[in-house]
């Protein structure tokens, strides 16, 4: 029985922790989401504070300490907790700086792509007619194009720099926002309360800001988190292929590319940056799943029912 299969310990702290109001308490009731948020916050924290907390200069080479293993293995030392690479650079420090690169690129891309995409979606939905058709066909055309291939081609021709990477990833990422915004706005325009707002005499900007955009906020937050994960992965892939971040700078994808030659002798060179990428994306997806359930009243009700069932099941025992 599913009621008894759940561990009672999972529900008890949740039952006691009902004081923090609203969203926070809902988040605290969901363990995977708590872990995911915690990990993402850690990454953000590291990315911001990296110059203060980093143990070594990520570019400092120490040829005597080449390919040192992580601290807990024979031959490792606590001064290089996650070991060193083939030039004696500290793996942990490089991952910390890599977090900064990944995060700043991904967040910039998300900001540019979502702003542009939402604007296009609003225009398509509001102007309608031919403008709508043309914009949406552009979206379709671009979506049918493999975006990584497009990015590689453009970067090969233009040469690679962080700015070009941001631009190319933004160009290949705005369509989803445009399509989603258009869909929601078109359906929201037929809502009675939007019609009422128009008839009452509200101006168009006011209707969009006060009556339509609040509908988009919830699905948009889910989409933003998912897109963030996609962009982290895309940046890592481009850097791995040598078309993203270029050497003196660091990036998780670049670290893996440099470490792949030593994968049999020094597994830690690819494993730790790889784990950083994987955990970031996993956390983002878990958080997106939580956000989706939380913003959908029906799903939320189901989750609430499950929590209650679990709680009463544990009480009965």
């Amino acid at each position: 029985m599913s009621l008894t299969a759940n561990s009672p310990s999972a529900s008890r702290p949740a039952a006691r922790r009902r004081k923090p109001a609203g969203l926070l308490s809902e988040l605290l009731g969901d363990r995977p989401a708590v872990l995911a948020t915690g990990f993402l916050l850690l990454i953000v924290f590291v990315a911001i504070l990296v110059p203060l907390i980093v143990p070594h200069d990520p570019a400092a080479q120490a040829l005597r300490a080449r390919l040192d293993p992580p601290a807990w293995l024979a031959g490792g030392s606590w001064s290089h907790v996650l070991g060193t690479d083939n030039l004696g650079r500290d793996v942990l420090s490089r991952i910390m700086y890599g977090a900064r690169t990944s995060l700043s690129i991904s967040l910039t891309v998300c900001a540019i792509a979502s702003t542009f995409g939402i604007a296009m979606g609003l225009i398509a939905a509001y102007v309608g007619g031919r403008t709508d058709t043309i914009l949406m066909r552009i979206v379709d055309t671009q979506l049918s194009f493999p975006d990584l291939l497009l990015a590689l081609t453009v970067l090969t021709v233009l040469g690679s720099s962080p700015v070009t990477v941001v631009i190319i990833l933004s160009i290949s990422g705005w369509m989803v926002y445009a399509r989603m915004t258009r869909g929601i706005v078109v359906s929201a325009r037929h809502e009675g309360y939007v019609e009422a707002a128009e008839l009452v005499g509200c101006s168009m900007p006011r209707i969009i800001l006060r009556h339509i955009l609040p509908n988009i906020a919830a699905p948009l937050s889910t989409l933003l988190i998912l897109e963030f994960a996609r962009v982290v992965l895309a940046e890592a892939a481009l850097s791995f292929l040598g078309m993203g971040i270029q050497p003196p700078a660091t990036s998780w994808g670049l670290d893996i590319a440099l470490g792949k030659d030593h994968v049999f002798g020094a597994w830690w060179l690819v494993t730790f940056p790889g784990l950083a990428i994987a955990l970031t994306i996993l956390s983002a997806n878990v958080l997106a799943a939580w956000a989706r359930v939380t913003t959908d009243p029906q799903e939320r009700e189901k989750r609430f029912a499950r929590t209650v069932a679990r709680r009463s099941g544990s009480k009965r025992r």
């Binding site: 809502e191 009675g192 309360y193 019609e195 009422a196 707002a197 128009e198 008839l199 009452v200 005499g201 509200c202 101006s203 006011r206 006060r210 009556h211 609040p214």
Partner: protein
């Protein structure tokens, strides 16, 4: 159109709204360049009437008759094909943009579905205060005071203001909708089937509210409904609409007492008699399908279903002619 007869309907000095030969046409399909564009669908066709200050015109008709389109045309949300609409002596049929928004200070809507017409994410206070804000009438404390006053006016407790519409019943929501419409002190309210979505038990309350508010504030209504029993209690005059045309229009008591158009008679006969002793009584009913307005352009549109139809009914459109002072019907045989 017999213009002189029209003029008798409302005293020109007190005339607020005037429809003159108004037609609304919708494109059925967008024209693709290898197809010819199908002829536009006329939702209403040559409709003329007036409404005076502080007066209620009830509009009755079955689904698809164009009664809602009349309201939409007045609110500037229907494309006029012919004719013009004047409000307070001013032609409003060509207004758009900012001018249209300014007009909305004087004409406010009460919508059919109180469950859809209130934004679920806004507090009741913000919903009611929104017209005040957008028309620059009041804000902040002043708007709050006005909201409290309006809630009192429509018979809602003052703690309603801080809650969201989700916690109210249909009747209460419609009261909120009415309070919003009244916020800017309009001269005119278009009520499009304001009680159709409500429980029968609370319809009477809302209808009485409409009536009381009119006595108190002198606001005029276009009150749209699909059955005669409902408009009877609020209307001074009633227009019966069939297939996009006015079949009969006149003072309430004349419409109920001596209906001139066979369609009006059929509608009155369709009102159930609340008397079990008369249960077995059979009354004549009309049969057949409701013809789409715009399908045929000659003859009376009611002719295919009319028990009185003669040859002329199928050949010439009956004019809206006076049968008694202020009482007009479009029928050859009455």
């Amino acid at each position: 159109m017999p213009e002189s007869e029209m003029a008798k309907q409302a005293d020109p000095a007190k005339r607020l709204v005037e429809f003159t030969d108004v037609s609304v046409a919708y494109d059925v399909q967008r024209a693709a360049f290898w197809h010819r564009k199908p002829p536009p669908f006329r939702a209403i066709d040559g409709v003329s009437f007036q409404i005076g200050r502080g007066e209620t015109l009830g509009v009755v008709g079955e689904s698809g008759s164009g009664k809602s389109t009349i309201g939409k045309a007045l609110l500037g949300r229907a494309p006029l094909a012919t004719g013009n609409i004047s409000f307070d002596g001013r032609d409003i049929s060509k207004l758009s943009g900012a001018a249209m928004r300014r007009l909305r200070r004087h004409i406010q809507p009460v919508l059919q579905d109180p469950y859809a017409s209130l934004n679920p994410r806004m507090r009741v206070a913000d919903i009611i205060a929104e017209p005040l804000l957008v028309h620059g009438i009041a804000r902040g404390k002043e708007a709050e005071a006005r909201v409290a006053q309006l809630l009192n006016l429509v018979g809602l407790p003052s703690d309603t203001a801080s809650r969201h519409p989700g916690s109210f019943s249909g009747g209460q929501r419609q009261r909120i909708g009415i309070a919003r419409a009244l916020a800017v002190e309009p001269d005119f309210i278009v009520a499009d089937e304001p009680v159709s979505a409500l429980d029968v038990s609370i319809r009477a309350q809302i209808i009485n509210l409409f009536r009381d508010l009119q006595q108190e504030l002198g606001v005029a209504y276009l009150f749209i409904a699909h059955d005669l029993a409902i408009v009877r209690h609020v209307s001074h005059r009633i227009a019966v609409v069939y297939a996009g045309r006015v079949a009969e229009i006149g003072p309430r008591d004349a419409i109920y007492g001596s209906p001139q158009h066979p369609y009006t008679r059929a509608l009155l006969d369709a009102v159930p008699i609340p008397d079990p002793a008369r249960r077995g009584e059979r009354r004549p009913t009309i049969r057949g399908e409701f013809g789409r307005p715009g399908d045929e352009d000659h003859g009376c549109r009611f002719a295919p279903r009319c028990p009185l139809a003669t040859k002329i009914c199928r050949e010439a459109v009956p004019p809206l002619a006076a049968k008694a002072p202020g009482h007009l019907a479009a029928c050859w045989n009455s």
